[in-house]
């Protein structure tokens, strides 16, 4: 399934695609990794990959699905491999500028709980709420069936309804 905007992507330049989609990819990654600087870097990493093969990617039915999939894969890989390295960078005083403001405590708590979910549940939640994708679009990004997406979201909501309500009670 491709949207009208996706179908026009094969005609647009990488630069305009990059500028239009960048903040949306940052938002997806930011929800998954917490660190604003890391989110910006991972988003740019994603677009660097896209830029290298833009002629091919721009011809895909859904180039946006491709960059979203690569972004969540890179975020997952970052968490799997690089979290400790990132902390080492901080320890050594690396320059870690970010233009992304901090989230409110309430907002940060939500994403902290989301990040505690099993990985695929967290990805489904972020793609549904942050990227505002349909079940079919999420399935395309996650390379799975819509049934699996619904299952991931259902389980995530079940967990979050408990953990976030516990948090609300503790802070009220």
């Amino acid at each position: 399934m491709s949207s009208a905007s996706d179908r026009t992507n094969d005609l647009e330049s990488f630069d305009s695609f990059y500028r239009r989609e960048f903040s949306g990819i940052v938002a997806i990654v930011r929800a998954l990794v917490r660190d604003g600087a890391a989110a910006e870097d991972l988003a740019q990493d994603t677009f660097m990959s896209a830029s290298r093969h833009w002629p091919k990617i721009s011809g895909y039915d859904q180039p946006r699905a491709w960059v979203r999939r690569v972004a969540i894969n890179k975020a997952t890989s970052f968490l799997r491999w690089r979290g400790a390295e990132w902390r080492a960078v901080n320890r050594f005083g690396g320059q870690r500028g970010t233009t992304i403001p901090e989230l409110s405590p309430a907002g940060e708590e939500v994403w902290s709980e989301v990040r505690r979910l099993p990985k695929r549940q967290a990805q489904a939640v972020v793609l549904h709420y942050v990227a505002q994708l349909t079940m079919g679009e999420i399935a395309e990004v996650m390379k799975c069936s819509t049934g699996a997406v619904k299952s991931h979201l259902s389980r995530a909501r079940s967990t979050l309804s408990t953990t976030l309500s516990e948090w609300s009670e503790e802070t009220s």
């Binding site: 940052v26 890989s77 491999w81 099993p118 399935a139 390379k143 699996a148 619904k150 976030l164």
Partner: protein, 248 residues
């Protein structure tokens, strides 16, 4: 809209709003900036880049596989597009990262027993069937350099990152052949693992890897190992699932 939905929508709106402050940088400059930043952590990188994962405890056991670049390692690139063609399974009640992912397409040049094992691993993983996976694994499976076996899969699951989707993604990539004298040949995914040096990895295979890893992770693998030393899966020519691990 119930309270949870409202809260999720509010949190999502906020993260979208703050992310609008992020501006696309010049991509050429990004690579330099990242490299400079990460140089601060170089002393930690060798240990961390490959060995940080808590469940990958490095032991003294020798893995019965040649290192990347071993003389007996013979690449044999086969498939060209890492995209399975079979439709995803409906998986509404399954709960693992590979649930509903596509089944394995056929790859040319695989012995029947290897192709069968590969398809069975994908089928078990996408069905979240740990019993079936464990039965396929057998006692010879290596999941870390300390000799870890299938129990690592339970550990990964308990830690919230069951690794099954990564494993299925790797098995959809082109495979290579690792030849070590005196041992059964091993069919390995991704093929990148079986090249003698980083420079031999074809660009299209690197590009497929960039969909799974950050550029920095791949750069570190190149710099420290002159080869692909990240996650890979191997099946012997006899059809035994030999390893699913990372590092060197």
């Amino acid at each position: 809209m119930n309270k949870l939905e409202q809260r999720m929508e509010d949190a999502a709106a906020e993260v979208r709003q703050v992310s609008r402050h992020a501006h696309p940088r010049d991509l050429g400059a990004t690579r330099s900036r990242n490299s400079a930043r990460l140089a601060f952590a170089t002393a930690f990188v060798v240990v961390i880049a490959i060995g940080i994962i808590p469940f990958l405890t490095r032991g003294t056991d020798q893995v019965p596989l040649g290192p990347i670049g071993s003389p007996g390692s013979v690449p044999s690139t086969v498939a060209t597009v890492p995209t399975p063609t079979t439709a995803p399974l409906p998986a509404p009640d399954l709960d693992c990262s590979a649930a509903g992912m596509p089944q394995a397409d056929r790859q040319p040049d695989l012995p029947e027993v290897v192709a069968t094992m590969r398809a069975d691993i994908v089928r078990a993983a996408t069905s979240c069937d740990y019993e079936a996976l464990e039965a396929l694994a057998g006692p010879q499976l290596l999941t870390n350099f300390g000799g870890g076996g299938f129990e690592s899969f339970y550990t990964w699951r308990d830690q919230g990152d069951d690794m099954l989707d990564l494993m299925v993604s790797l098995l959809a990539m082109p495979h290579g052949l690792q030849v070590i004298e005196g041992q059964p040949d091993i069919y390995a995914w991704p093929a990148a693992f079986t090249y003698d040096s980083w420079d031999e990895i074809p660009e299209e295979e690197l590009e497929a890897l960039r969909e799974l890893y950050t550029d920095e992770e791949l750069r570190q693998s190149e710099e420290f190992f002159d080869g692909y030393a990240l996650w890979r899966l191997g099946i012997t020519e006899d059809g035994d699932w030999k390893f699913f691990l990372a590092g060197d």
